[in-house]
Amino acid sequence: MKKIIYIFAIILPLIWVSCDTIEEEERLVYPKGQTKETTPITKVDTIQKVLLEDYTGWKCVNCPRAAVKATEMISKYSEQLVVMAVHATAFANPSTGNNNLDFKTEYGEKWAIDFGCTSLPTGIINRKKIGGVYTIGDANWDNQIQNTINSQDHIMNINLGAEYRSDDNQILVSTENIFLKDYNSSMLINVVVLESGIIGVQYNTDPNYGTTPKINDFEFNHVLRKNALIDYSLSLNGVAKETIIKKNYLIDVDPDIQDISKCTVVVFVTDAQTKEVIQVNEIHL
Amino acid sequence: MKKFILIFVAIFLCGITINAQTNNKKSTLPTVTINTLEGKAIKASEFSNDGKPFVICFWATWCKPCLMELNAMAEQYDDWQKETGIKIYAVSIDDARTCPKVKPLVSGSDWGYEVVLDQNSELKRALGVNNPPHTFIVNEKGEIVWQHVGYAPGDEETLIEVYKKIVKGEEVK
């Protein structure tokens, strides 16, 4: 009988403790990365651009083919295309086999799940669904990029300025979001850092794209890095034509970044409901 | 398909009720703990009437037919008690909203029943009561031998007749 009382005596304080109290200053947190500081705008955007997300991983044997295709696309579409290599899924897990080179990101992993990128290589163009799915095989990239450029409604431009601050190891990004048309739903803005020219190990199965079964000196380009600012609100209820929204962000540089001079900052705006990319722009550091 | 299932359910459940009424195995009161008007714990299985059968009435302060039934029985309760030694447990299923009204109603109405509180409908559920009023007669062995739902004027006469039969040890339906 005493046992029962003991058990209750133990449970009682446990439940009493299970009550969280949030101090007043902690209730509304001004999220990391937003800032009032600015840097001059140096990259002015005037055309509709398209974002190609290349979902890839070093253990993915067909991915060198897609990487070559992505490079081809950049030379073909030039300023009209921004490529972002998202290293995700188990194919991208670092190990001693690639000297623990870690390109994985929390948000890249989430996107891979959200957009159904389970078998690699695969791509997403402006996060638009085609035939019910987001994913597009690299063989169809050319077609779809062309289609998207032709059909996309040019709603806004994103002008950019970026500055690397070595003292704090931070990148200050200024954005000017200029609306050419009315837009009636909620929009999110994403600020990411991509690094190019990283040399590492990549599995490969096709001799046309390098040595098999692996390429020891593969060059990874447009690699999505950590510490990006994802899904920050740009506008809650949409905006009217000719509106300009100026936003400034501070990003902590991912300590894994090897050469800051080979990095670019990519900013893209999405529709909060449909997830579709409205506009994207890129600036070199 | 839906209609078919509907009919199926209906027939099957009617079957259960008929089946249950002809079932000879009699239920006893469960060991559910409820409260007296003073708030003390009491087990339903401890209800008793000095070895004589007793009556359990489920009611609530907001239930008009229940009050009609309890008032009608109260008028004759003194006579019934002298004649047969009957005892009535009036189980209130009033919850926290109307529970404070139970005590003034009970004393104001001057019924003379044993009133107990089943605030969270524990006993109501355990005895399969759908809606009040619902009346049970429990024999001297603690077995539920008769029950009735609803109240219409005159039902109290039926109750006391059945009770007298049970006291005499006669079978009741």
């Binding site: 009988m1 005493k2 009382i5 209750f8 439940i15 009550c19 969280d20 109290t21 949030i22 509304l28 947190v29 001004y30 999220p31 506008s235 809650l236 | 839906k2 299932i5 509907l6 209906a10 099957f12 009720t17 089946n19 249950a20 009424q21 079932n23 239920s27 469960p30 060991t31 703990t33 003073e38 708030g39 003390k40 714990a41 907001w62 239930c63 009609m68 008032n71 008028e75 909203r97 005590k103 003034p104 109603l105 004393s107 104001g108 109405s109 969270n120 409908s121 005895l127 009561v129 809606n131 619902h134 029950q147 009735h148 739902v149 219409a152 004027p153 005159g154 006469e157 039926t158 339906k173």
Partner: protein, 566 residues
């Protein structure tokens, strides 16, 4: 559909099995089925029912064998009758449990209902007529180590329609503990004392995983993230005392920070106080209750706003009416803040006195008022509202300046002769429709009357005549405008059979000649089985039981109910 058939099959088998006394246990249970067929009626606002036939049904099967009991409830909503949440659509085993009870220990696994004290911080219950069921699914332990002491512990998640609550983090975990001591039972020397004291205390904590929630400053579009408490705790203390004819019941509860959809995501702590004083003598009963509710919506999911997932129970301190026109303007507790008082006096004029007459007279007086609480809003957030802030401060004894509901009821019950019984009732009601969410409507002031005469006939049959009248100059919604009158005649035969006719007439409505809600009903009772059939119109309204209400849309057609206990 296969699932349904399987469930029916299982119940049939289990029932047939048990009824043959396998293991010597006993089977009891009950059953109810409602069937509705309603057709379109633009005059009363009844909408077309595309299924033609709607049905709700449930059956409880309870198996008891000594200290062990187990039970289940099968429910079917094919499809839910009007006014029930469409999310109930479907059928299945909604409730099942196994329980072991000894004198000092009671353990229940599976679904259970329980209440701590008056329910200010924890009550798990069902209200079938409202389609409300917040059964816990988990474990309950009640221990009675010594006479007069009861300890309760509960843990589990709450039912949410047919959702698979255990497969999702969207449903919070509820944990609670309660202790109650009866001083008089615990200490022998106080056992016979006229002063009876029962004291209790409880703690409850809900774990609800934090979700992302942002507040956006409109000018800059900057985000602010709301930090959510994941463990929402509450505690309550209570005291119940009685001394001779007097009794007292008091409970005080506090709730920790709980920003949620009901309170507009503010961090203000919750508080509830309840006090009830009574005097009871032979032929006279008096009760006065008061309560104060401040931000006490307590749910196991912070985004939930409906009637489901309530952890606590905050009933309205108003009379629960049984005459239908008196219940035209039902009041429900304003969980975000309310102060209320209710008083009841019940007096029996003695038999064979001048006023009491030959049979005595029952008099009942009831008064209740519910008012807003005083709220001083402190600071705005960057978005210009109160989300994510303290919200307001409130002084305990100060009432706000808004009346939600006020009502005075007088009732007289009198036996006129051995065959005639008369009940008269009057009510004056003041109702603030804004409190129920009807923005922009005027205060309603109504005088309501009822006369109800029961006549005993030969052979245990009886007749009942009832007239009700509601006088008001205000409108309540689209379909309840101005004055109403209602008449009912009911004939009962031997307690087995009844037939009734009712007409509710909204004659005060513009062009109200047509707005008759007639209804014919027949019913048959045999033992514990009751079948009732009614045909006619049902007005749009709100049914409130306890602290919660359900909208019932207007209907025109057939309604059948079968209930049975076995």
């Amino acid at each position: 559909m296969k699932k349904l058939l399987l469930a029916i099959f299982l119940i049939t088998c289990s029932f047939n099995g048990f009824s043959q006394d396998i293991f010597g246990g006993k089977v009891t249970g009950n059953f109810q089925m409602d069937v509705q067929a309603s057709k379109e009626d633009s005059i009363i606002g009844a909408e077309k029912v595309s299924e033609k036939l709607l049905m709700n049904a449930f059956t409880n099967i309870l198996y008891t064998n000594g200290d062990f009991s187990a039970g289940m409830r099968f429910e079917a909503y094919l499809n839910p009758i009007l006014g029930f949440d469409p999310q109930y659509k479907g059928a299945g085993l909604a409730y099942r449990f196994a329980s072991y009870k000894k004198d000092y220990l009671e353990i229940t696994a599976g679904n259970f209902y329980e209440q701590f004290g008056n329910g200010l911080i924890f009550r798990s219950y069902e209200e079938r007529n409202l389609g409300l069921d917040n059964a816990m699914d988990g474990l309950k332990i009640i221990a009675r180590p010594v006479k007069g002491v009861a300890l309760k512990g509960v843990i589990g998640k709450q039912r949410y329609y047919w959702e698979k609550i255990w497969e999702s983090d969207n449903f919070g975990l509820v944990r609670g503990i309660d202790a109650e001591v009866s001083i008089n039972s615990l200490f022998k020397k106080f056992e016979a004392s006229p002063l009876q004291i029962i004291a209790g205390g409880s703690f409850v904590s809900v774990f609800d995983k934090a979700e992302d929630r942002f507040i956006i400053e409109p000018s800059t579009g900057d985000n602010y993230k709301l930090t959510m408490p994941e463990n929402i705790g509450s505690g309550a203390a209570r005291l119940q005392m009685s001394y001779k004819a007097f009794n007292l019941n008091a409970e005080y509860a506090r709730k920790g920070q709980d920003p949620n959809a009901v309170n507009g995501y503010i961090f203000h702590k919750g508080e509830a106080a309840y006090l009830s004083l009574g005097y009871a003598a032979k032929g006279l009963g008096i009760n006065v209750s008061a309560k104060r509710i401040d931000n006490m919506s307590y749910k196991s999911r912070r985004g939930e706003t409906g009637n489901m997932l309530n952890v606590n129970y905050l009933p309205a301190l108003t009379r629960q009416h049984s005459y239908s026109l008196f219940a035209m303007y039902p009041y429900a507790t304003q969980v975000n803040g309310e102060m209320g008082i209710q008083a009841d006096i019940i007096y029996k004029l003695k038999k064979n006195t001048f006023l009491g007459g030959k049979y005595g007279t029952d008099l009942k007086l009831n008064y209740s008022i519910a008012n807003s609480i005083d709220k001083k809003y402190v600071q705005l957030n960057p978005a210009g509202n109160y989300e994510g802030t303290e919200g307001y401060s409130s002084s305990f004894f100060k009432a706000g300046d808004e009346i939600y509901f006020e009502e005075l009821n007088l009732e007289l019950g009198k036996k006129l002769s051995s065959d005639f019984k008369l009940n008269l009732m009057y009510s004056y009601q003041t109702f603030n429709p804004i409190a129920i969410g009807h923005q922009g409507e005027k205060f309603i002031y109504a005088n309501v009357f009822a006369a109800d005469l029961t006549q005993k006939l030969k052979k245990r049959s009886s007749l009942r005549y009832e007239v009700q009248l509601l006088l008001t100059e205000q409108n309540y919604g689209e379909f309840a405008a101005g004055d109403w009158i209602q008449g009912t005649v009911e004939y009962n035969l031997g307690g087995k059979f009844f037939v009734a006719a009712t007409d509710q007439w909204n004659y005060g409505k513009l062009n109200g000649e047509k707005v008759h809600y007639y209804n014919f009903a027949v019913g048959y009772t045999k033992g514990t089985t009751r079948i009732q059939l009614s045909y006619g119109k049902q007005r749009e309204g709100i049914i409130c039981i306890g602290g919660v209400c359900r909208m019932v849309p207007a209907s025109n057609g057939l309604f059948a109910t079968i209930t049975s206990s076995f």
